[in-house]
């Protein structure tokens, strides 16, 4: 019992990673089994066990990140869901915020409401923001609404009443009526899912919880069974969007917490790496075939966001344009995403300027060099022309490519119209793709008041290490870290996570009039609940850590900032912490007389393992045989340079760029002028020196 395994399901591939007692790292990439995602996991693990030489019985726990929940939302394949609201407000879900994510677009279509109007029913009742009941719940009306939804054959019911965060009595009563009329039917009460102010966000989040619950429940039930049948006895834990793990049973109850589990795992992996190698400030950069994502680790902590949209994650140039996708207000890692990947298409616009993405050739037909019918060059084709990628095959030889086709496409479609050579055009496309992705990095750094120059770039995903050094140079960052098994790094990140419980409640109080005892009482109550939940999962008190936080704002402001605090910290400490955070984020703070208001309280409880989750040193299997050097192009000034193609181990002694490190699941580029070396943990450290391009 000493291996731990993780499975990260993506749209194209399912990545599997196992870590043994001595830090043995074994990875496996298998095609995702769409429709029955669990099959790929169980079969892939079976192969991994054989290759790695250990038995299923030796696995102590299975950690999992999945796109099942987000796919159910994006493909509208969730449960038939009913919604009960306060009378007069059943359209809050559909009206949303009125905003649209695109300007000047006559063809804009709103995302379809996950609950159609005829399954949204209002019930007579009214609670005020103070929690006072203005109109008592119409019991008969509530009963009739539940019966009407049951008659429609709903598989789940969501309940979201106005101001239920301040007084949940009516929601609870409707919950009881549902339990009475339809025992066993999944019901989500907004006070259980998100006891916070703002009716649209709360309704949307509660509805999503109901909508994906039955789907995720069935999936996890089947997966659990399959794993047990395959001899895996250990618990199944899921990654939450916040980067913490939660038991499968808990995830089935609060599915809304695991929607964005895959991307979160990568950032947690970067955080674990940062802690291990003593890197307090890092930006994680994850680039695959269609999207690139950036997250931030600051002072070893992962930056969190309070909400995001499923299907709205890809920025269209600016994060201001909200309204796409489905709104979720759950603790989640602050990620910025752009539509840029290896498959992004390169084209020339009507005014003769080269453009890269966001349209993508995807995995199929994929880049021109795949020879599957796409004629428009992609970022991967540019990288082939530049000599950065192996000209004969990718994925460790498993995917043969046609480099001449890449060059012909770049030459014909891009270089000739622009009056450039093919390599100049390819290099330009590479830089433009990088500049698009730089916007994702800025979105989590400079746009959040953080100077990226004080951060290292941790690059992973199939294409991340190819672009990282160039992007870091452009941003004035000095160091790039490429971890082992960078191509399956999100699955590695799963193995580094702790079990987490997140709780929050709306709690509006002005700090200058607040009794410290009242603050302590409210925070302590939340903390006690977090401890109780972790205790119920088997964590003894000494292995439970709880952090408190509050969101605050200047009275009258409509945007909040989160500030952590410790037991015993009074309102004045919170107000000062807020002022400092405001200054750091926005560059200014109001005068000391300006009243500060607490909006909500949060706690995060962590259940710590009884021994380190990850060994200090990871030992990936020895890599393939080294390749001959090949010419690679580095822009007009440097031109074509004969570039050695190395295995990771060859960096045991520092090497000057240019160099290419080719691995099974990714390729890393060390540009001229940079120095690359391995650290004690098998990471490639690229040192960019003082220069800034």
């Amino acid at each position: 019992m000493s291996w731990r395994v993780s499975a990260d399901i993506g749209g194209t591939f399912t990545d599997l990673v196992a870590i043994g007692p001595q830090g043995e790292l074994r990875t496996k990439k298998v095609s995702s089994s769409v429709g029955d995602y669990g099959r790929a996991i169980v079969e892939g693990l079976g192969q991994l066990f054989v290759e790695a030489g250990f038995a299923a019985a030796a696995v102590e726990e299975v950690l999992h990140a999945t796109t099942v929940a987000s796919n159910a939302i994006l493909e509208h394949k969730g449960a038939k869901t009913g919604l009960i609201t306060t009378q007069g407000f059943r359209d809050v879900l559909e009206i949303r915020t009125l905003r649209m994510p695109r300007l000047y677009d006559l063809r804009w279509e709103k995302p379809v409401a996950l609950v159609p109007r005829h399954l949204r029913l209002g019930v007579r009742e009214r609670v005020l923001h103070t929690g006072a009941v203005e109109t008592p719940l119409d019991e008969a009306g509530a009963r009739a609404a539940v019966e009407a939804l049951l008659a429609e054959g709903v598989e789940a019911i969501a309940v979201c009443l106005l101001h239920s965060y301040a007084n949940p009595a009516h929601e609870r009563r409707i919950g009881a009526i549902i339990a009475e009329l339809a025992p066993g039917l999944p019901a989500s009460l907004s006070v259980d899912v998100l006891p916070e102010m703002k009716e649209y966000e709360r309704t949307s989040t509660t509805v999503i919880n109901s909508y994906i619950g039955p789907v995720l429940g069935r999936y996890l039930g089947a997966l659990g069974q399959d794993l047990r049948a395959a001899g895996l006895q250990g618990p199944l834990l899921l990654m939450q969007s916040s980067g913490g793990l939660m038991p499968a049973a808990e995830a089935a109850r609060l599915p809304v917490r695991v929607v964005e589990s895959g991307p979160a795992a990568g950032v947690i992996g970067a955080q674990a790496l940062a802690k291990r190698i003593g890197l307090p400030n890092a930006i994680s950069f994850d680039m695959g075939g269609t999207t690139a994502k950036a997250g931030v680790i600051e002072n070893y902590q992962v930056a969190q966001a309070a909400e995001y949209s499923v299907g709205g994650g890809i920025m269209v140039g600016s994060r201001l344009l909200s309204g796409a996708g489905y709104q979720l207000k759950v603790p989640s890692i602050d990620l910025a995403e752009v539509g840029a990947g290896g498959g992004s298409l390169i084209r020339i616009d009507a005014a003769g300027a080269p453009q890269v993405g966001p349209e993508s050739a995807g995995a199929d037909p994929g880049p021109v060099c795949y020879g599957r019918g796409n004629a428009q060059p992609t970022v991967t084709d540019a990288n082939v022309v530049l000599g950065y990628l192996n000209p004969r095959a990718l994925v460790g030889g498993a995917l043969p490519i046609d480099a001449a086709a890449s060059r012909a496409a770049i030459a014909g479609k891009i270089a000739t119209p622009l009056g450039l050579t093919p390599e100049e055009a390819a290099h330009g496309a590479h830089l433009i793709a990088a500049s698009n992705m730089i916007r994702a990095i800025k979105a989590v750094s400079s746009e959040r008041g953080r100077d990226p120059r004080g951060f290292a770039l941790v690059a992973f995903g199939g294409n991340g290490p190819l672009f990282a050094a160039g992007m870091a140079q452009a941003l004035g960052m000095r160091r790039v870290v490429v971890p082992p098994s960078a191509g399956v790094f999100s699955a590695v990140g799963l193995l580094a996570s702790d079990v987490e419980v997140h709780l929050a409640r709306s709690w509006r109080r002005a700090t200058h009039r607040l009794d410290p005892a009242a603050l302590e009482e409210a925070a302590a109550a939340l903390e006690a609940e977090a401890r109780a939940r972790l205790a119920a999962q088997g964590f003894p008190p000494e292995r439970i850590v709880v952090q408190r936080a509050a969101t605050l704002r200047y009275q009258g402001q409509s945007f909040e900032l989160q500030v952590g605090f410790a037991a015993g910290d009074g309102p004045a400490v919170l107000a000062e912490g807020f002022g400092a955070e405001h200054e750091r984020t926005y560059g200014h703070r109001a005068g000391p007389g300006e009243p500060v208001e607490i909006v909500a309280l949060q706690v995060v409880g962590r259940g710590l393992p009884d021994r380190p989750r990850m060994p200090d040193r990871l030992a990936p299997p020895a890599a393939a045989t080294p390749q001959p050097a090949r010419p690679a192009y580095f822009g007009r000034a440097a031109g074509w340079l004969d570039t050695p193609v190395l295995a990771r181990a060859a960096l045991a002694a520092p090497r000057q760029g240019p160099a290419i490190i080719e691995e099974y699941d990714c390729t890393c580029l060390v540009p001229p002028g940079a120095t690359a070396a391995l650290d004690d943990f098998g990471n490639i450290i690229i040192d960019l020196g003082e220069s800034s391009a």
Binding site: D91, I95, M100, L106, L320, A350, Y554, S558, F559, H588
Partner: protein, 589 residues
Amino acid sequence: MQGRSYDPIEFELFKNALFSIADEMALTIHRTTYSAVLKDNMDYSTAFCDAAGRLVAQGLTLPSHLGSIPEALAAVMRRYGEEMAEGDIFVLNDPFEGGMHLPDIFLFQPIFVNGERVAIAATICHHTDVGGRVPGSNASDSTEIYQEGLRIPPLRLYERGKPNETLHMMIDRNVRVPVKVFGDLRAQLAACTIAERAFKELVARYGVAETRFYMNELLDYAERLTRAALRALPDGEWSFEDHIDDDGVEIGKPIPLRVRVEKRGDRMVVDWTGTSPQVKGAINNTFSYTRSAAYCGIRSILPANIPNNEGYFRAIEVIAPAGTIAHGVLPAACAARGLTGFRMVDTLFGALAMMLPEQVGAAGDGGNLGVSLGGWTKERQPFIYVDFTCSAWGGRPWGDGLDGNSHMFANMASPSIEVTEAEQPIQITEYEFLLDTMGAGQWRGGAPFAREYKFLEAEAVLQVRADRREFLPFGLQGGQPGAPSMNWLLRDGRREKLPSKFCITLKHGDVFRLEVPGGGGWGDPLLRDPALVLRDVRNGLVSVAAARRDHGVVVEGRAVDEAATEWLRAEMRAARTAPLPAVVRERAA
């Protein structure tokens, strides 16, 4: 090109960097603002101009500000041109010298590199209050600019880094909520600071000469894209007319909006000659706002990738004679000119629908309806609640109009009900779609909603600006118009109809009910897929009776009676005496 060689790759990288600065400015305001108008409605814009004041990059925020920056900056340049010094920050809101309406305060910061002015950062924010006779400073029934609030000509808010105390004090004493106004001015300043820092980094990388060269090239690039797109459109002339019900002062006197669109080769003319003379009520546009409306409308029929800058404007000529509602002159009141701007966009869309019938749909709800409520609490604290809301798009040649979506001209958001109730003496008692209010059509108009506000303090002034009571959102190609807007006062158990624009005193317990107009339909209602009619009936948006009357669809229980529907539709077609009109302005009885 000033003898420099143009590198397409460098240009693309520069463009990304510069627009990222304009967006970063916008984010800064979003995060630091105090007021819901800015945070939720995003009624603000940020931009970057070259040293000559030409708009090079506008952040993606509010379309209705698109044409306003050049005008405002030109006013500043006229007065201060070569006197600008490092550390100066200029401010203005005077509609007759660069502004749009008084609540929109412009801030400009010239950016110097080695003593040379290289660029100018610009921000506009709609402020919660700038004084005047009504809280929120946006009354539609003011008749002169002098009633509308504090008028600020182009002045220095900061001179060489030092605040202009005189001006600060004047603002402080003339607005109802100075904490919010100064909080939001600080947000504007923060955005300029961010812009200066980021721009200087850009110049450090490219050098001054190259930066100037690429800023100029960015304008030419937008112009090339625009002209290339225009060349692909049909040449010709198209005209359209619509009316605003009235100006809220001369009740019942319709206000004509007339537009002529001319497209030849790679240029376009939008001509408002023939539009109403300026009116007494506060709905007169500045010429800059009329230009914004034209830029927004034309932009919507062009490809999405054209940068927001002055190069795009070069291909479009906008004509609006001075002294008209499209180009007000002193002493025109203009606080509520948003109404006219929205309706000009819709009128322009009417002409564009004639030009491109497959691309442009029927009229939506006419843009946002303004509800302002303000007064003093028992503790003599001011409260101001401003809600701009809209919902329904017109039916489109390929699909239904959107339900519950902002108008194209101003991508506004709805403030949270729960937050409103916690912060204002207001309870929202309903927020739901309305039955049988969408214009019927093969593709129906979008659904409007009702929003009810119950007032909980002792006394307040309620000021409302709605329209489309008399002149309905038009349908196209036989599609029916949407239902009119409606205002109701529920007081002491009675229900009283209010005019579309009014200003009254509310008492404790009064409920104001706002009903947004419905979107116009597109195409013959008898061609609508019966399954879509059934869906709307099931969803409570269309009654069984209206399904029958408007679409000839017979709904029995949960299903369409196919045979009866076919029979009824045949009968309705036979009863038609004339072909369906291209533009439908009156609802069938």
